[in-house]
């Protein structure tokens, strides 16, 4: 009898042990971001956005009792390094989903994501090709083409029909320039001139002077670095035409600079609740910047998907995560958005920089 009881206790203990493991299973996800090199500043913001959201979920007990762990890989914003990191995370760590950033690395990983059925979530890159790169690539930001279309219509609607383009001579800048070349005439405007600058270059005077010589009503901008210097030199040269751009303009140092007074741009609407922003600042000692919020929002979406899958006791794979995400469709997290395709439809504001603040003057969407 004693032997029977001992056996029963042992079986019960084994069941409890295995049951416990099953309940407390850690869900491993991946993130391939530029944590060193020139993109490290943005990559670190993205990493913090993900980790901050994950820490909050885990502190509340995880998703249906399952803790989440994100394995971060550094790709230095390089496509080749991204491929190595992707294979490592998928083949060795068996992650079903990976956060990515930057257009080049994300486009490089997209075919692999399709082949291996791994969900890629991009919350930072905006190249137009990302919209169709893979059925397993979900973009939580609109593409640059969507934003350019919105700002072009607004600018032409304001009567500024003669435009000059200032663009960065790299993949992102050229993509933006090409979008302006299509969208601005389509909105009823005319492109008079275009001038490139090099990435990281801060002497914009020659290009600004040449563009000013074409006497435009508006300068359409597609640069990602040196915006503050561009604004200051625009002011120093006494130029008067309107300056318009996209979400890239949302740089606190640019907004605060009096030289940028009157600059207009599209802006993905992000309202970080004060308590959340304060909690982030307390943890990291810095403000909850744009990319922190973007990746926090993307992580919230992933958590919602995992919550549904674990509640329904479905397997967590890239395919099931993608299908569930598209089935949920509407997310009301930090950035309310809807997935009518694999690129989110989001609220887009038209903002103008005024007295050191970014003031919303019109609310639209990229639909």
């Amino acid at each position: 009898m004693n032997r029977l009881i001992r056996c029963a206790v042992a079986v019960l203990a084994i069941c409890l042990t295995f049951g416990g493991v099953a309940q407390a299973e850690t869900i491993r996800l991946g993130a391939i971001l530029p944590l060193t090199g020139p993109g490290a500043l943005i990559g670190t913001q993205q990493m913090r956005g993900i980790q901050f959201a994950i820490d909050q979920v885990n502190a509340k007990g995880g998703v249906n009792g399952n803790k989440i762990e994100v394995l971060f890989e550094d790709n230095q914003a390089k496509p080749d390094q991204s491929i190595l990191s992707f294979n490592k995370l998928v083949d060795l760590q068996k992650v079903p989903m990976i956060f990515s950033a930057y257009s080049g690395p994300t486009l490089a990983m997209a075919p692999l994501a399709t082949r291996k059925k791994v969900l890629l979530i991009n919350a930072g890159a905006q190249a137009d090709k990302l919209a169709t790169a893979s059925p397993y690539l979900i973009n939580t930001l609109p593409t640059i083409g969507d934003e350019v279309s919105v700002i072009s219509k607004y600018v032409v609607g304001e009567g500024k029909k003669r435009a000059a383009i200032l663009f960065e001579n790299d993949a992102a800048g050229i993509a933006g320039r090409d979008d302006y070349l299509k969208a601005f005439p389509a909105a009823g405007g005319t492109i008079l001139a275009q001038e490139p600058t090099q990435f990281g270059q801060t002497d914009f005077r020659p290009a600004l002077l040449k563009l000013a010589d074409s006497k435009p009503d508006v300068m359409l901008v597609s640069i990602t670095a040196g915006l503050q210097q561009m604004a200051q030199q625009y002011k120093q040269l006494g130029l008067k035409f309107m300056v318009a751009g996209t979400t890239f303009f949302q740089d606190p140092s640019v907004v605060a600079d009096p030289a940028a007074q009157g600059f207009v741009h599209t802006q993905v609407r992000i309202d970080a609740p004060p308590a959340l922003a304060a909690a982030f600042k307390q943890k990291y000692g810095v403000d909850m910047e744009f990319f922190v919020r973007q990746y926090y929002n993307a992580t919230e979406i992933v958590v919602a998907v995992l919550d549904k899958l674990t509640a329904e006791k479905k397997p967590i794979t890239g395919e099931s995560m993608r299908d569930t995400l598209l089935a949920i469709r509407k997310f009301n997290g930090l950035i309310p958005l809807e997935f009518k395709s694999n690129t989110a439809t989001v609220k887009l504001d038209i903002n103008v920089m005024k007295d050191g603040k970014d003031v919303t003057i019109k609310q639209l969407s990229n639909e």
């Binding site: 490139p196 990281g200 020659p206 002077l209 670095a225 503050q228 200051q232 120093q236």
Partner: protein, 287 residues
């Protein structure tokens, strides 16, 4: 209006570039070291001045402190890197690689300490305008042109009118003869690195004062200055300075006739053709 403003902007840029070129020329002509880490000193000077200004040090004092520390840095590089390598009979290639390595270390440390963001000097007067007719310049641009011309004149005077300047030219002309006539080339090399580093700190502070600071911002000016030095004639201070101004003017004025993306390529293509016909440079050695 456009052409004149481009001409003036090109002159300001060329003057700053000219100071980088004469300081690099001073080092290369004397030590025969392709001192790539000079770009690191150029960058470091800006960050040091920014740190001093941010901590309330008066602007002029911050510039002078950055120049003094830059000079010390240059002397230290010669004393603790190049001199030991020379004692071990390192080839020019090894010295170049060591210099490149040092530049990478300096840039990475600067990026780690100050971040890779573009930093602005908290100096409001720097962006105030001076207008003469249709020409508009900032005070920083004006100061850059004036002080660069002064640095050029000062370097010419130093090289031709002072005992140390003549000693440096003697060592540059014939290091072996300088050794046996007790001109102590090794000591001269330390002076040269210190003086050239001090000189390069001037544009190292003034250019970022106008355009912002970046950890990797020293490479392009150094590359252009090197080309100006070679095209001007190695060892010719005037040649290096004049060619720097010419290159900057060509880059600016070429915008009048060609799109900006071709500006750098066409400018340097002209120099490649030029070097084919005059490989010793425009100004022959004028030591």
């Amino acid at each position: 209006m456009l052409a004149v403003q481009l001409l003036v902007n090109g002159f300001v840029t060329g003057c700053a570039l000219g100071v980088v070129a004469i300081s690099f020329s001073l080092i290369y002509a004397t030590t025969k070291i392709f001192h790539v880490a000079h770009a690191g000193i150029y960058t470091l000077a800006g960050y040091l001045a920014w740190t001093f200004v941010s901590h309330g040090v008066p602007d002029i004092a911050a510039l002078l402190l950055a120049i003094a520390l830059g000079a010390l840095g240059g002397a230290a590089i010669q004393q603790f890197l190049y001199a030991p390598l020379e004692r071990r009979k390192a080839t020019h290639l090894v010295v170049l690689i060591a210099s490149l390595g040092l530049l990478a270390v300096m840039q990475n440390i600067i990026a780690a300490v100050y971040s890779a963001n573009i930093l602005q000097f908290p100096v409001p007067w720097g962006s105030r305008m001076v207008a003469a007719g249709s020409i508009r310049l900032t005070w920083t641009q004006l100061l850059t042109a004036v002080l660069s011309l002064a640095a050029y004149a000062g370097t010419m005077w130093f090289a031709h009118r002072t005992i140390l300047g003549k000693r440096i030219r003697a060592v540059a002309s014939n290091p072996f003869l300088a050794e046996i006539t007790r001109l102590q080339p090794q000591a001269v090399y330390i002076y040269v690195l210190a003086i050239a580093s001090a000189i390069v700190c001037l544009p190292g502070v003034l250019v970022p004062l106008d355009l912002g600071l970046q950890p990797y911002g020293g490479i392009t000016p150094l590359l252009t200055a090197t080309i100006a030095m070679i095209a001007g004639g190695v060892g010719s201070i005037s040649g290096a300075f004049a060619l720097s101004v010419l290159i900057a003017e060509l880059q600016n004025l070429s915008l009048l006739v060609i799109p900006g993306e071709w500006s750098i390529g066409i400018t340097f293509f002209i120099f490649v053709i030029f070097m084919l016909f005059r490989p010793t440079g425009l100004f022959t050695k004028a030591r």
